[in-house]
């Protein structure tokens, strides 16, 4: 149940802006559900797409996440974490389930992500590097990739990312460092490519 006011405050002491909505959803309030979906859908889809390198799979995961929200709002129990943290944890878990089922990642889908690109020659260069980066990311061990996605791409703070992954901050930092070290080794050639462009 989500009725305890003490629990409307998250671990950092600030009020969780989602809890009033969750309470209304638990009472069958469709408008509250729509508002919650509106608030978090983009971020959930973005996270899932980055983790699975597939837009279609990301949208399937997002559907599953939010349908669970609607169906199980009455059963949700608040601890110290924010509701959005739980939402992201569900999304990450669902992505991991799917990734375990399909070991091969569609790299083309990643490479085709829209980027803010300038013109012609640089564009080719950047696309090549972006594709290699996508490949390298997909080759990382799963939890290292999740850690980098949460912290680098989604801009999550270390405490929230650690909560989403259900690890300590120290363990998160270890995953990040190992992931980044591996990426640097894999992307050594592209790095010099990029350095040339920078000058």
């Amino acid at each position: 149940m989500v009725s305890d006011d003490r629990k409307s405050r998250s671990g950092n002491g600030t009020a969780d802006p989602d809890l009033p909505l969750v309470r209304r959803i638990a009472e069958g309030d469709a408008a509250a559900f729509s508002t919650l979906v509106d608030r978090h859908l983009d971020r959930v889809v973005r996270l899932a797409e980055r983790l699975m390198a597939s837009r279609a799979d990301a949208e399937d995961v997002a559907q599953e996440v939010f349908v669970r929200v609607w169906r199980h709002a009455r059963n949700w129990k608040s601890g110290n974490a924010r509701y959005s943290t739980w939402l992201h944890r569900v999304a990450v878990n669902l992505c991991q389930d799917r990734l375990r089922k399909r070991r091969e990642v569609d790299l083309d889908a990643v490479a085709e992500m829209p980027t803010e690109e300038p013109g012609a020659e640089q564009l080719m260069n950047r696309k090549t590097v972006a594709r290699r980066v996508a490949e390298a990311l997909s080759e990382l061990p799963e939890r290292q990739r999740i850690a980098i996605t949460l912290c680098h791409f989604e801009g999550m703070g270390n405490k929230e990312a650690a909560e989403v992954m259900d690890v300590s901050v120290e363990a998160l930092e270890s995953l990040l460092a190992r992931g980044r070290r591996t990426l640097k080794a894999m992307l050594a050639d592209e790095k010099s490519h990029l350095m040339g462009e920078d000058r």
């Binding site: 069958g28 469709a30 859908l41 669970r68 609607w70 199980h72 949700w76 944890r89 992500m113 801009g155």
Partner: protein, 157 residues
């Protein structure tokens, strides 16, 4: 002149290795100490430049497109299409028993039988669990298993 509060170059390197070269991604409590180190250490600045190259490569990945209204609508359709959910919404709107049963029936995807009595009895079966509370969205047995696997609560924090 250094103090105990100063960041060592080793600590700086560890933090860079984890969070990269953008201060925005660093834990807030470490940023000021890191900035002080950067002011006085060329080694720290060289490490920062080296690590920032990876950040720039990662940033070339671009940003996935926003979700869009179609997906939003699909999610609402799926969620509200469940008979028990329709029953709960009707209940929260103040519908009587018949209205709730009708809402659930309309969302069940089943053809209407000839006899209203048969419809009512079928719907009682469909939404039996939903009659316990005004917003019954209780999980079915399969969902309960899924919830257990997903570690639904944060009570351990």
């Amino acid at each position: 002149m250094s103090s105990n509060d100063d960041m060592t170059i080793d600590r700086f390197a560890d933090m860079l290795a984890a969070y990269g070269g953008s201060a925005a991604r660093w834990p807030a409590e470490e940023r000021t100490r890191a900035e002080r180190l950067l002011h006085r250490s060329s080694d720290a600045r060289a490490l920062l430049e080296e690590e920032s190259r990876l950040d720039r490569m990662l940033d070339l990945m671009g940003r996935p497109a926003p979700a869009g209204e179609t997906l939003h609508a699909q999610i609402l359709d799926i969620a509200f299409g469940h008979p028990a959910a329709a029953y709960a919404r009707a209940a929260s709107s103040g519908e009587g028993l018949w209205g709730r049963l009708k809402a659930a029936w309309d969302n069940s995807g089943m053809l209407r039988p000839a006899g209203a009595a048969l419809a009512a009895s079928l719907m009682l079966g469909v939404v039996f669990g939903g009659m316990v509370g005004p917003a019954s969205a209780d999980p079915d047995p399969v969902d309960i298993m899924e919830l257990a696997l997903l570690d639904l609560t944060f009570t351990g924090y």
